[in-house]
């Protein structure tokens, strides 16, 4: 019952030097405002973040683990997709 009143939310934090929000965990909250506050309290206690996203867990569409082989196995033999077959000119610097 209480779990229906406080649905599950997924929390994403953008760190000080990070460009993208990263998934850090989940929490229960009554609505979006309370979820943001709880995310601040639970996941940014050590100065981790500059920005928070919260997303209802029900809004996430996940791939089926059963499809794992079909989805991911074919890439295993395509090593040429890794950018490791050419030299980076020195003038380019750190990429």
């Amino acid at each position: 019952m209480s779990r229906q009143l406080t649905p599950l939310w997924e929390v994403f934090i953008r760190s000080r030097n990070g460009l993208a929000h990263k998934h850090v965990g989940s929490l229960h909250a009554a609505d979006a405002t309370m979820a943001l506050q709880a995310a601040r309290d639970v996941y940014t206690r050590r100065g981790e973040g500059l920005s928070i996203w919260v997303v209802p867990s029900t809004a996430i569409v996940a791939s089926d683990p059963v499809d794992k082989d079909m989805l991911f196995e074919p890439t295993g033999t395509k090593i040429y997709r890794h950018p490791s077959f050419y030299e980076v000119p020195e003038d380019v610097g750190h990429m």
Binding site: L27, A29, T33, Q37, A38, D41, R45
Partner: protein, 266 residues
């Protein structure tokens, strides 16, 4: 328990600092009592977070109070007191906190209502103190204000959801507000000592903060569908050390270790 309490020379500034520090420490201790007992994990972390904010503010104020107290002696003496002595070696009659801060936690609605009513004044008070003629106090206020703004937002959002929630949560929130309202008057008191600080621009006149407090309370209560209690008889006495029966047991638990083993470290 052989350790005796310390004597404190309470000049207006020392008293003004102790009153604010004691507010913060006593409320911090009450909130810390929720640690491990809160209804959900999220609040089990959120309430001690607020407690730690308040504890930090109390430490800064005690440290400053100890320095001011030392300088007030004739001739001035090196600080004998420190933050630990002021927190652990004063008994309940020497504590200067407003009575609302020592109210027992009660149910979750009581804890939230207590935090909301306290923060609704504490937040504008810290904001005003950022303009204090006392630079050290202004610096402490600048840090405390960011924290109190969050305490106010957190407790207000909860109060709105409790008041405008289920029939049961509404009843409990209204009962909490009704029970705590008679403790709000004391927060606006200004005796001669406080008046001396107001007249020298060190602290703001609490009467001037009343409209801000009223606006906050009225708008949150309206959204929470709670009825604002009438301003009737108000409790008083905490600022001069006359406390309820609840402070003594709290201090006993808080102080037993440093009083039993003076100077203990761990």
């Amino acid at each position: 328990m052989a350790t005796t309490s310390v004597a404190v020379l309470e000049t207006p500034l020392v008293l003004g600092l102790l009153r604010r520090a004691d507010d913060a420490l006593v409320l911090a201790h009450r909130l810390s009592e929720w640690c491990g007992h809160a209804p959900v994990l999220e609040e089990d972390i959120a309430l001690p977070n607020i407690a730690l904010d308040l504890l930090g503010t109390a430490r800064a104020l005690y440290e400053y109070a100890a320095e001011v107290e030392a300088g007030a002696h004739v001739p001035p003496r090196a600080p004998v007191l420190d933050e630990d002595a002021l927190a652990f070696l004063r008994d309940d009659r020497q504590y200067r906190n407003a009575l609302i801060t020592e109210r027992p936690n009660g149910d979750f609605a009581h804890t939230i209502a207590r935090q909301f009513l306290f923060s609704a004044l504490a937040d504008p008070a810290w904001r005003a103190l950022m303009q204090s003629a006392d630079a050290r106090l202004a610096a402490i206020a600048a840090k405390a204000e960011k924290e109190s703004a969050y305490h106010l937002r957190h407790s207000a959002e909860w109060l709105i959801r409790l008041g405008d929630g289920t029939e049961l949560s509404h009843a409990r929130a209204q009962a909490a507000v009704d029970a705590l309202w008679p403790y709000t008057g004391e927060m606006f008191e200004a005796d001669d000592a406080e008046r001396a600080l107001i007249d020298t621009g060190i602290t703001p006149d609490p009467a001037g903060l009343r409209p801000v407090f009223d606006r906050t309370v009225d708008s949150v209560f309206a959204e929470a569908t709670l009825t604002r209690p009438a301003d009737g008889w108000m409790h008083s006495g905490g600022r001069i050390g006359r406390h309820s029966e609840h402070l003594g047991p709290m201090l006993a638990e808080m102080q037993i270790l440093p009083r039993t083993f003076p100077g203990a470290t761990w």
